[in-house]
C-alpha cells in the first residue's frame, strides 16, 4: 500500500519537481495538487491523503493555517512543511499548527522522501539544517546567558520519555516501548514540561531538536 500524497505549493515548478521525485518512489503516489492553502484544505477533504507536503507562503491562505485546518478535520493526515523559511518562528508555529515534519526547499531530495516516510509512520522529522540552526541558536543563547542547563534536572527515565515524545510517538506507544503504565507516561510528560519550562509538545520537540536529542 503506497503513501498517498497531496502537494500544496503556489509554484507549479516546485510541484512538478516534487511529483517527478515522488512518483519514482515505489511506495508513494501523488494523490493531488493544490496551488494555495484553501485549495489544499478542500482537496485534503476530498482525497484523504496520508501526507500533505505544504508550502507556507501561499496566497489566499497560508500553509500554517491550512495545516491547522487539515489536522483538525483529519487527524490521520500528516503534514510536512516544505518552506524556504528556516527561522524558528516558522518551525515552532508549523509544529504548533500540527505539522509533523519541517523541510527546507533546499533540503536534499532524500530528506523529502525520508520525511514523508517518517511522518506517514507517525514520527516527526526536521530537516538537518533546521535542527542544526536551532541547536546552534540554543547553544549560543545558553552560553551568552549563562543559564544552567535544565536538561540536567531530568531523570534518565524522563529523558527517555522526552526523546520518544519528541519523535512524535503517542503516550500509548511510549508506554509500550518503555514497558510502563500509561498514567506514568503522562506524569513523566508533565514533569518534563515543568522542569524545562515548556508548555506544549511542539515546544518540547523544538527543545529536543535544539538539544540534539532528535534529528
Amino acid at each position: 500500500m503506497s503513501i498517498r500524497i497531496l502537494l500544496a505549493d503556489d509554484h507549479a515548478i516546485v510541484r512538478d519537481g516534487l511529483r517527478a521525485l515522488l512518483e519514482k518512489q515505489p511506495d508513494m503516489t501523488v494523490a493531488g495538487e493544490a496551488s494555495d492553502g484553501r485549495e489544499a484544505v478542500q482537496i485534503a477533504e476530498e482525497n484523504a491523503p496520508d501526507v500533505v507536503v505544504m508550502d507556507i507562503a501561499m496566497p489566499s491562505m497560508n500553509g500554517i493555517e491550512a495545516t491547522r485546518r487539515i489536522v483538525a478535520t483529519r487527524p490521520a493526515t500528516a503534514v510536512v512543511i516544505l518552506s524556504m523559511h528556516q527561522d524558528e518562528s516558522y518551525v515552532l508555529r508549523s509544529l504548533k499548527a500540527g505539522a509533523r515534519g519541517y523541510l527546507l526547499k533546499d533540503s536534499l531530495r532524500s530528506d523529502v522522501v525520508e520525511a514523508i516516510r517518517s511522518v506517514a509512520q507517525g514520527r516527526s522529522f526536521l530537516t538537518r539544517k533546521v535542527s542544526r540552526l536551532l541547536q546552534e541558536d540554543y547553544i549560543r543563547q545558553m552560553e551568552r546567558r549563562g543559564v544552567e542547563d535544565s536538561y540536567d534536572l531530568l531523570t534518565d527515565r524522563e529523558r527517555e520519555v522526552l526523546q520518544l515524545v519528541a519523535e512524535g510517538r503517542t503516550n500509548k506507544e511510549v508506554a509500550s516501548v518503555l514497558n510502563i503504565g500509561l498514567t506514568t507516561v503522562e506524569t513523566h510528560r508533565t514533569h518534563i514540561l515543568q522542569k524545562l519550562g515548556l508548555h506544549s509538545v511542539p515546544e518540547l520537540i523544538l527543545y529536543a531538536v535544539r538539544k540534539g536529542i532528535i534529528a
Binding site: N62, R68, M84, D87, S89, D106, R144
Partner: protein
C-alpha cells in the same frame, strides 16, 4: 514649523494695552492742558480788563471831581462878584448843578472802594460836604455882604479848602494808582502760576510722550528682533529639513545601490554560473561528467536561494507580516546574536503581535535601528528590547550597556528616521544616553480606535483568517 512663533495671547495683548493707555493718557493730558490754559488766559484777560476799566473810571471820576472843585471856585468868585441878585441866583443855581455833579461823581467813585481808599475818601467826602456847606452859606448873602466879605472868604475859606480837597483827591488818585500796581502784581503772579502749571503740564506730557516713544521703539525693535530670529530659525529648520531629506534620499539611493550590487554581484553571478554549469552538463561527454556539473548547479542554486532569502529578510522580515511583531523581533534578535555576538534579549507581550501594520513596522524598524546602533557604535554586550501593549497604546524600549554617547550632539540619520517614524504615529521618542552609561531609547505610540488587524497582509496568514 513647530513652536517658533507661539506667544501666549495674554502676552501679546499686554503691550497693546500699555500703548493704548499711554497714548490715550497723553492725549487727555494735552487736551486738559490746552483747555485749562485757554480758560486761565480768558479769565486773566477779563480780570485785567475789569481792573483797568475800574481804574480808569475812578481816575475819570476823580478828574471830574477835581475839575468841578476848580469850577466851583470860579462860580463862587462870579457869585461873589455879581452885583445884583438875579446874577447871584444864576450863579447859585449853577453851583447847585455843580454840587449835584460832584456828588454823582463821588457816588460813582464810591461804588468800588479799595480798603486803602476808605479813609481818604471819607475825608474827601467830609471835606467836600463841608465845602459845599460853606459855599452854600454864601447864597444867602446880600450884595453888601458879598462886597464886604468877598476877599476874606475867598482867601481864608475857599482857597485853603480847595487846596485841601485837591490834596486829598491826589492822595486818592495815588491810592487808586497803587491799587492798579497791586493788581498788576497780582496779574504777574497769576500769569507766573499759569506759566508754571503750563510748564509742568508740558514737561509731564513731554516726559510721558518720550517714555511712550521709547517704549514703543523698544517694543518695535523687540518684535523685529523676534521676527528676524523666527525667520532665522525657520531658515535653519528648512535647511535642516533639506539636509535631512537630502540625507534620506542619499540613504535610499545607497540602499538601492547596495541592493542592486547584491542582486548583480551575488544573485546574478550565481545564476550566470548555474547557466554555465547547465550548458556544461548539456555538452557533457559522459554521465559522470554531467553529474559533476549538475552537482555544481545544485550547490549554486542552494547558495542563490540562501542569498535571496537573506536579502528578502533584510528588506522586510516575512515574520512581521506572517506572525506579527514579536516573532519578527525575536528573529532579528537571533540574527544579530548570530552575526555580531551581541546578546539581544526580547521580552514582549503576546498582545503586541496584534498591531496595525504601521505600528508594527514603526516599532520593528525603530528597534532594528536601535539594536544595529548598539552593535555597530556602542560596543554593547547586551541589549534588552521590551514591548508592552494596552488598550490605548503600545510602548517599546531598547536599552544597551554600551559606551553611550552625548545625545545633545550626536544625531545620526538612523535616529532621525526613528524619530520621524514615531512622530508620524503620534508618539514621542525618548532618548537617554551618557558617555559610559549606555543608551536607552523608548517610545509610546497611541493606538487610536484601532481595528485589530484589518490589514489584508496579515489576515491571510493569521491564525484566524477571514472566511
Amino acid at each position: 514649523m513647530p513652536q517658533l512663533w507661539t506667544i501666549s495671547p495674554a502676552r501679546r495683548r499686554a503691550p497693546w494695552v500699555v500703548l493704548v493707555i499711554g497714548f490715550g493718557g497723553l492725549l487727555v493730558c494735552i487736551l486738559g492742558a490746552a483747555v485749562r490754559t485757554v480758560g486761565a488766559f480768558d479769565e486773566e484777560r477779563n480780570d485785567q480788563n475789569r481792573t483797568l476799566k475800574s481804574y480808569l473810571e475812578r481816575q475819570d471820576a476823580l478828574d471830574r471831581i477835581r475839575a468841578q472843585i476848580y469850577l466851583s471856585g470860579t462860580y463862587v468868585r462870579d457869585l461873589l462878584l455879581s452885583p445884583d441878585a438875579s446874577g447871584a441866583a444864576a450863579q447859585n443855581s449853577r453851583l447847585t448843578t455843580l454840587e449835584n455833579d460832584t456828588s454823582a461823581a463821588l457816588k460813582s467813585y464810591a461804588r468800588a472802594l479799595d480798603s486803602a481808599e476808605v479813609e481818604p475818601f471819607q475825608a474827601l467826602q467830609n471835606e467836600i460836604d463841608e465845602y459845599w456847606r460853606v459855599l452854600g452859606s454864601t447864597g444867602q448873602w446880600t450884595a453888601e455882604q458879598r462886597n464886604k466879605l468877598r476877599d476874606s472868604f475867598f482867601y481864608d475859606e475857599l482857597v485853603p479848602r480847595r487846596t485841601a480837597m485837591l490834596q486829598i483827591a491826589d492822595r486818592i488818585g495815588l491810592v487808586n494808582e497803587r491799587g492798579l500796581t497791586r493788581a498788576e502784581y497780582r496779574f504777574a503772579e497769576a500769569s507766573d502760576r499759569l506759566r508754571r502749571t503750563l510748564l509742568l503740564t508740558f514737561g509731564f506730557t513731554l516726559l510721558g510722550g518720550l517714555g511712550l516713544a521709547l517704549a514703543t521703539t523698544f517694543y518695535t525693535l523687540h518684535l523685529e528682533r523676534k521676527l528676524e530670529q523666527g525667520l532665522e530659525e525657520n531658515a535653519h529648520a528648512r535647511a535642516d529639513l533639506q539636509e535631512l531629506s537630502a540625507k534620506l534620499v542619499r540613504a535610499q539611493e545607497n540602499e538601492r545601490r547596495t541592493l542592486a550590487r547584491e542582486l548583480h554581484d551575488e544573485v546574478g553571478q550565481s545564476l550566470s554560473a548555474i547557466l554555465m554549469e547547465t550548458e556544461n552538463a548539456e555538452c557533457a561527454e559522459n554521465f559522470g561528467e554531467m553529474r559533476e556539473h549538475l552537482s555544481a548547479v545544485k550547490s549554486l542554486a542552494e547558495k542563490t536561494v540562501n542569498e535571496v532569502r537573506d536579502l528578502a529578510l533584510l528588506l522586510r522580515p516575512s515574520m512581521l507580516d506572517d506572525f506579527g511583531l514579536v516573532p519578527a523581533l525575536n528573529w532579528h534578535a537571533r540574527e544579530m546574536s548570530k552575526r555580531t555576538g551581541l546578546n539581544v534579549m526580547v521580552s514582549a507581550d503576546e498582545e503586541a503581535d496584534d498591531l496595525p501594520d504601521e505600528h508594527k513596522t514603526c516599532i520593528y524598524r525603530a528597534v532594528q535601528e536601535a539594536v544595529n546602533n548598539s552593535a555597530r557604535h556602542a560596543q554593547a554586550r547586551t541589549v534588552e528590547v521590551s514591548v508592552s501593549r494596552d488598550a490605548a497604546s503600545v510602548r517599546f524600549q531598547v536599552r544597551d550597556d554600551g559606551v553611550g554617547f552625548d545625545s545633545r550632539f550626536v544625531r545620526g540619520l538612523g535616529l532621525l528616521g526613528m524619530e520621524e517614524r514615531v512622530r508620524r504615529l503620534g508618539g514621542d521618542l525618548r532618548l537617554e544616553s551618557q558617555l559610559g552609561r549606555g543608551t536607552l531609547i523608548a517610545a509610546e505610540l497611541p493606538l487610536s480606535e484601532m481595528t485589530p488587524n484589518s490589514n489584508g497582509v496579515n489576515g491571510d496568514v493569521h491564525p484566524h483568517p477571514v472566511g
